[in-house]
């Protein structure tokens, strides 16, 4: 599978190596829960407010709560300035991110209420939606929202014919051979897939391999997330 020695990634990583990750909770004082998560130079912060009463009232779901997810990128997070405000892309990412996290949040405990998750990308070097989901999951846990499990998100790439873990921007723009295929995936702690997207070009056999690579990487990410939560509990106890 991975010819580790023969394929050179632009930053010298091994094919199954993520960028250096860091995670921290409690980064937004006002929020009920908050966190930062980064893959190398891609940095996301998330803040959770709720559960709180859902407005407008006619949108209240009396059988279970609602999870609202808003993803946005800072205008200067990328090389060419992004006009501030929602875009079609950010709206779509908000929706798939909500779908990625909702299965593990016990929203049936909050009928009529909403939990708002706000994610901002401070610095973008690809895999922003994955960093956002990792930060959001941490922020929800930090807020004490009852959760069935954690979710962890990573991008798997295919550069020409080689599968790699955690795409950087330089790799997203890969032009050699078959170019780049980008596969962001989110998984629960027990290995179920809550989100998967793909663009590029890949055959079924390699796609199945990509999913398995994601499983391994998500386990590593989960450890980083757990550590960040534990550190915050330890600090509180001091």
């Amino acid at each position: 599978m991975a010819k580790k020695d023969s394929f050179e990634r632009p930053d010298g990583r091994a094919v199954d190596e993520t960028r250096k990750m860091s995670a921290k909770v409690g980064v937004v004082e006002n929020a009920d829960g908050s966190a930062m998560f980064s893959f190398g130079d891609t940095v996301a912060i998330a803040a959770v407010y709720g559960p709180r009463k859902m407005h407008p009232q006619h949108m209240q779901d009396m059988e279970k709560g609602t999870l609202r997810y808003n993803y946005n990128m800072f205008s200067f997070s990328v090389t060419e300035r992004i006009r501030p405000g929602p875009s079609r892309r950010s709206q779509e990412i908000s929706k798939i991110s909500q779908w990625a996290i909702e299965p593990v949040v016990m929203i049936d405990k909050f009928p009529g209420n909403v939990i708002d998750v706000y994610v901002s990308i401070i610095q973008a070097n690809a895999s922003t939606r994955c960093a956002g989901i990792n930060a959001a999951a941490l922020a929800l846990a930090h807020a004490g929202i009852p959760m069935k499990d954690m979710v962890s998100s990573v991008s798997i790439g295919k550069l020409d014919k080689q599968l790699v873990v955690d795409l950087s921007k330089a790799e997203e723009d890969w032009e050699e051979g078959e170019g780049a295929t980008d596969i962001p995936i989110t998984m629960t702690g027990d290995g179920k897939i809550t989100h998967i997207q793909l663009d590029g070009k890949i055959e079924t056999k390699q796609l199945k391999e990509a999913v398995r690579l994601a499983r391994k990487a998500c386990k590593d990410i989960y450890e980083i997330q757990k550590k960040a939560l534990k550190e915050s509990v330890d600090l509180k106890e001091k």
């Binding site: 079609r88 892309r89 709206q91 779509e92 929706k95 798939i96 779908w99 909702e102 299965p103 596969i183 629960t188 290995g191 179920k192 897939i193 809550t194 989100h195 998967i196 997207q197 793909l198 663009d199 590029g200 070009k201 890949i202 055959e203 079924t204 796609l207 199945k208 999913v211 398995r212 499983r215």
Partner: protein, 265 residues
């Protein structure tokens, strides 16, 4: 009107027994009709019906300056409107997330498969290229607007002719066409959406079945090569279930292509 819970439960129970309300097999599409040239002022257009679901897709072209990182390539833009006239579920107003997602899924299917030969749409490198606008409208919503939109888009693109271009004024002569067809690849990408209901997967759901759907995976592919994929809705999938969907997608593409091939000359 939202499908009542009791119908959703009955759909699930029927599927457990291997049955669908309209007697179809799990991997079977409803009857498909495709009419090209459905709107004469468009560069290309198609009206597609899958069962009672109906969409019209149109292609328009215009000149533009190329993007700096692709100075010799034309550009693609896909939008979709889920019209209130097609269902009492859709309201007037700014684009809904459903219409945004639908447009972006179709966009990625066309873009990543490189179906349109964008490098043949350059008039003057760095200065003038053709822009392709694909617009999708729902006429009647009875489930599976996504796949209908995909078929409509491919049919409209295959049907499209390049407008006349006046070299002296350097302007497009709208309403007049050359005999030159829009350059597209031979291999036809199709989007096929698999829906999970209970422990089963079906394709081409009716509106009722779509309401009972727990999660969906749309795969854009052409003869075994997957170029786009999107999972939507809440329920998680196991790795085995995903593997199963990937295996089904190749067969499903062959089946769907054989069903619509004659319409796509």
């Amino acid at each position: 009107m939202e499908t009542p819970r009791i119908n959703q439960d009955r759909i699930r129970k029927y599927l457990e027994q291997g049955k669908r309300f309209d007697g179809r097999k799990f991997d079977e599409f409803r009857e498909i009709t495709i009419e090209t040239g459905a709107s004469k002022k468009a560069e290309g257009s198609a009206r597609v019906k899958i069962g009672n679901t109906e969409v019209i897709v149109g292609v328009k072209m215009d000149l533009a300056t190329p993007y700096p990182d692709s100075p010799d390539k034309g550009n693609l833009m896909v939008t979709a409107e889920l019209l209130p006239l097609s269902s009492d579920r859709f309201e007037s107003g700014p684009p809904s997330i459903e219409s945004i997602e639908l447009a972006r899924i179709i966009d990625r299917m066309i873009r990543e498969s490189k179906f349109i030969e964008l490098d043949k749409l350059c008039i003057k490198e760095g200065e003038k290229v053709w822009n392709i606008f694909i617009d999708i409208y729902s006429i009647n919503a009875d489930g599976n607007l996504l796949d209908a939109a995909g078929i409509g888009t491919v049919a409209a693109l295959k049907n499209a002719k390049i407008p006349k271009y006046d070299k002296e004024t350097e302007k497009v002569v709208f309403g007049e066409w050359t005999n030159e067809k829009l350059p597209v690849k031979k291999e036809t990408p199709l989007s096929i959406t698999f829906h999970k209901i209970g422990n089963h997967f079906i394709v081409d759901p009716t509106q009722e079945e779509e309401d009972a759907s727990e999660t969906r995976v749309t795969i854009g592919s052409s003869d075994g090569v997957i170029s786009s994929m999107q999972k939507g809705n809440h329920v998680p999938l196991s790795v085995e279930e995903l593997d199963h969907i990937f295996d089904m997608s190749e067969k499903a593409w062959k089946y769907l292509i054989s069903k619509i091939e004659k319409h796509l000359k």
